[in-house]
Each structure stands twice: as structure tokens, then as C-alpha cells.
Symmetry: C2
């Protein structure tokens, strides 16, 4: 891929905040990898200070900002290991807007929703360790 195109690509990374922060360290590593390929609009998801109470701004401000970012994005990468209403919502909204959507799911961590796993419009990449993420993302973005 041309480096100039890479720099301009806008990536919406979706992951659980209020659904639970069990995988927050993985989110940080994934965002770091995604940054190689473009601008990650939702970098705050990796913030260590962010807990499951979410950000200290109004819910409507978050909703309006995040859906604006999602509409502007070129691709949505969703970490779907932790069940999350917000991530499910973002995936369906992205699908209705015709966005390319890639879901990352940690194997053996639970049972992935049939609305994700059974949806042929989504690309679901399973992984065992976050160390596999660089190679998985390379396949997506190259």
C-alpha cells in the first residue's frame, strides 16, 4: 500500500468500555498496531485511566462524537471478545453505512454472538494471543 494512502486512512477501533475492561491491555497493543496503517480515531479506548464507568462527559456527547467518527472512518476494526452493547451497535451501524468491518475474537474466551459469527458481511479473525495481531492486521491492510 502506498505510504501516503496509509497516512490518510481513518480507522475506527471499537472495543468494550462500559461492558467491561478485562482486555484493556490488549486494546492498547491493537491500537498501537493499527497506528501503523492509519489514524485511529478512537485512541482513548486504550487509556489506562478509562474504567467501566466510561468518560466523564455526557452520554449524548460521546454518542454524537463516536457516530461522527464512525461515519468518517474508512474501516472499522472491532475487538469482540468482551460482550458489549456499544460494540454490537457500532458494527451494525457500520454495516448499514457499507463500511468494511473486521472483527477480532480471542478464541476460547467464550461464545461469540451469532449476530456476529453468523453474519457473512463481517470478517471475523480469531486469535489466541495478542502477539498474533500484527500478522493478522497485515493481512487486512496490505
Amino acid at each position: 500500500m502506498d505510504p501516503e494512502i496509509k497516512e490518510e486512512m481513518k480507522i475506527y477501533f471499537a472495543a468494550s468500555i462500559r461492558g467491561g475492561r478485562d482486555y484493556a491491555r490488549d486494546y492498547k497493543k491493537i491500537i498501537s498496531q493499527l497506528s501503523i496503517y492509519g489514524k485511529v480515531l478512537t485512541e482513548h479506548i486504550a487509556d489506562n485511566k478509562l474504567n467501566d464507568r466510561g468518560e466523564d462527559i455526557s452520554e449524548n456527547t460521546i454518542f454524537e462524537r463516536d457516530t461522527k467518527w464512525l461515519r468518517e472512518s474508512d474501516i472499522i476494526v472491532a475487538e469482540v471478545t468482551q460482550p458489549s452493547l456499544g460494540v454490537g451497535y457500532e458494527i451494525a451501524l457500520g454495516e448499514s453505512l457499507g463500511k468494511k468491518i473486521v472483527c477480532l475474537f480471542k478464541q476460547q474466551s467464550g461464545n461469540l454472538s451469532a449476530m456476529i459469527k453468523g453474519n457473512r458481511k463481517l470478517e471475523v479473525l480469531e486469535y489466541e494471543s495478542v502477539n498474533e495481531i500484527p500478522a493478522k492486521l497485515k493481512q487486512v491492510f496490505q
Copy 2:
């Protein structure tokens, strides 16, 4: 409401399956109440035998059936206490189709996603006990 209209109303009840079954007993009571007002297309969500591994049919079969039911429905009632990718997905899909959506959230159980709580197109009804559900639903359907 006219009894004949009530009989024909199709209600899509959305609630967590693979996200966790902590509130499965409440789902049963909610479905029982919803049945007063119309045909609940997703009655199997209250099945005691249904656990977080989900139904024993292919994910794509579930996805195609559930999204068909959702498209056919007149109203979506979503129980959003348990974080769930599927429920978040169904809410956004319903919104993109212009459906009326009512979310039921058990207070003090956690932090509701900003994508739900901050979304002014959704009606969120909070409750403390499932005993309040009949009165809440009466307000919705009358």
C-alpha cells in the same frame, strides 16, 4: 388499543444469550408481559434450556432468522442490562430500519453504554425490579 390490532402486533424481544444468562428469569417474565400486547417473535430467549452456548443450529441460520424477524417486527423491546453484542447489533439494525425501539435497563446493575443511553432515538426505561415491568410496558403499548 383495539384487541384485533393487539393480536397482530409483532414484537421483537432482544436480550442476551451468549453475552450471559444472568437475567434469564427476568426475560421470561418480560416475554410473558409482552405477550399481552402482541406476538413475541423471539420467545425462545426465555427457554430455561437455553444457555450461553446458544442454540444448537448454525450461527448463520440464527442470524438469517433473527434479522428476518427483526425486519418483520412492529416494535423492538430490548433488555439492555446484560452487555451483549447481539442486542447492541439488533438495536442499531432496528434503528437503521426506522423501527420503534424501547430499551429496559435494571438500575444499579452497571453502566449502560453511551451508545444506548446517549442515543436520543431510543426510549430507555429504567427499573429496579421486574415487578415494575407490567406498568412500564402498559405505558409503551397503550
